[in-house]
């Protein structure tokens, strides 16, 4: 029946002590990806200053241990970065930073990348700017896999 899922210490650390959980009032950008049907939803809030630097990041996640951990570490990885640098965040980098993910959980890291991109997209829409290399968010990432 079920495959036993074992998490790295880093994943467990981010799951049990998630960083930057919460909401940002009047955020510069908010992105929500995933769907409840598949069991994962991630929402990322960004506070971006006039120099296009991410001053604050918060997240909320409905999902498994890996979903929480990937969102938590993603917020850490883009905190204080410029919009352009944040855009470079990849699911591979998220996986590596967590010391690896079980095969069935790889999609969680993809979701984290998508959530950051979706929040950046929202920011660009609100400001009426175009961010080089940023594509509109996919609502259901499972469709893409």
């Amino acid at each position: 029946m079920s495959e036993v899922i074992e998490y790295s210490e880093k994943v467990m650390d981010h799951f049990t002590n998630p960083r930057n959980v919460g909401e940002i009032e009047n955020a510069s950008g908010v992105g929500t990806v995933g769907n409840a049907k598949c069991g994962d939803i991630m929402r990322i809030y960004l506070d971006i200053d006039d120099n296009e630097v991410i001053k604050d990041v918060k997240f909320k996640t409905f999902g498994c241990g890996a979903a929480v951990a990937t969102s938590s570490i993603a917020t850490e990885m883009i905190m204080g970065k410029t919009v352009q640098d944040a855009l470079k965040l990849t699911n591979k980098a998220v996986q590596e930073a967590l010391g690896g993910l079980p095969a069935v959980k790889i999609h969680c890291s993809l979701l984290a990348e998508e959530a950051v991109h979706a929040a950046l997209w929202d920011y660009a829409q609100k400001k009426g700017i175009v961010i080089e290399g940023l594509k509109p968010p996919v609502n259901d990432i499972e469709e893409r896999e």
Partner: protein
């Protein structure tokens, strides 16, 4: 680490000390092959036959109708594949339900690939099959009805007596997967018109790796494992004497304690359900309220996901299980929870807690307190809960 609170007795149970004691000699001293001729092996043979008799009596069967197998899944596979093969001249149609264990469902899928037609009966919101739908599904080509005695996830006990009445009238074989029910509720294969029944040792404080199949002596079925004369040449392989002895002992204990145990577990179960439903908002209780196994509880907590819940409970020393997709390695949550009509997102947030006679009221109190804490914490992190609260405020 806190004291371990083990509430996953539907997954497996502790081997009772009496069972372990009964098994020991058959590892150390009486290791003879039950099929050998010398007197030394006769002790093993006697032990196997004693266990067979105990189990047969418990089920109201004859000893020669009890076959030892490697466990519940093997028995389920044998029942379906064996009848499919032996009855292929009569027909190719099998009726089962949507909430069976995967040992049944995946075997049915296998049979579908080989030309068999399977009807999967629906269940209502409590997990009960509809007798009328069963009747309407019977065809001239129906060779087997396989409906579980009690469900492993939500504990609902199916109307076995009514099913047996119908299958007997129609002359169709009736198999029941009784892995969760055996030793927990009284079963008499004669009164219930059961033709084949699967049961497993490790769900009733017996050892793992041992199961039985009851096969009524009028049932036409071939061998499942080929290669020896064991088990009336139908299930070859050297007898797992310690396992068989353990299963026999566990059956004896279960029989003696069944009533007292069911009463104790039912009281604790109801206490757990009452506390959770009263103290954790936005919670759904899954399965039939009363027609269910005495040790089974199943809840869905809205806005949160089951795997997260399990990991956080584990950190508090509490073992439970969930029907969330993330604990099954697929994207879909439990087929049982979907079959009783739960939407995906609510099925993802399910928690099954299954008690034992060793569970105490303190264990339950500790568990409920932990659930309250963990559910609240996960909800505070959940975008679904955030949206829900904002909507409520409007």
């Amino acid at each position: 680490m806190n004291k371990l609170i083990y509430l996953d007795n539907a997954a497996t149970t502790r081997v009772a000390p009496e069972v372990f004691e009964a098994m020991k000699p058959y590892f150390e001293d009486l290791y003879g092959n039950a099929a050998s001729i010398y007197r030394f092996a006769g002790e093993s043979r006697k032990a196997v036959e004693n266990a067979r008799r105990t189990i047969a009596e418990f089920l109201g069967a004859k000893p020669e109708e009890i076959y030892f197998t490697g466990g519940g899944s093997e028995s389920d596979n044998w029942a379906l594949l064996g009848i499919a093969e032996s009855m292929k001249n009569k027909g190719n149609h099998i009726i089962t339900s949507k909430i069976e264990h995967h040992a049944i469902l995946h075997t049915c899928e296998f049979l579908e690939k080989h030309g068999y037609e399977i009807t999967y009966l629906d269940v209502d919101e409590n997990g009960l099959i509809d007798i009328e739908q069963l009747k309407a599904s019977i065809r001239p080509t129906t060779i087997l009805v396989s409906i579980m005695f009690a469900n492993n996830e939500i504990g609902t006990i199916e109307p076995i007596k009514e099913i047996g009445k119908i299958t007997r009238e129609k002359g169709i074989y009736f198999h029941t997967d009784a892995v969760q029910a055996y030793g927990h509720v009284p079963i008499n294969v004669g009164e219930l018109n059961i033709d084949l029944l699967s049961a497993s040792g490790h769900k009733i404080n017996g050892p793992k790796g041992i199961g039985i199949m009851y096969i009524r002596n009028t049932v036409k079925i071939g061998a499942f494992i080929h290669g020896g004369a064991q088990e009336r040449s139908r299930r070859a392989g050297t007898h797992n004497t310690p396992g068989i002895v353990g299963f026999g002992k566990a059956t004896e204990l279960a029989k003696d304690k069944m009533e007292v145990r069911a009463k104790y577990e039912t009281e604790l179960r109801d206490y757990l359900v009452e506390r959770v439903m009263a103290e954790v908002p936005y919670t759904k209780f899954n399965g039939h309220r009363t027609q269910r196994l005495s040790n089974n509880t199943n809840f869905s907590f809205r806005f949160i996901e089951g795997e997260s819940l399990l990991i956080m409970l584990d950190q508090k020393g509490i073992c439970g299980s969930s029907g969330s997709a993330c604990t099954s390695g697929s994207l879909d949550p439990s087929h049982v929870l979907l079959a009783i009509g739960l939407p995906h997102e609510i099925a993802h947030g399910s928690l099954r807690l299954t008690l034992s006679e060793e569970t105490t009221k303190e264990d339950i109190d500790t568990t409920v307190d932990a659930i309250k804490f963990v559910v609240e914490r996960l909800r505070s992190m959940s975008p679904l809960y955030e949206d829900f609260v904002k909507k409520e405020r409007k």
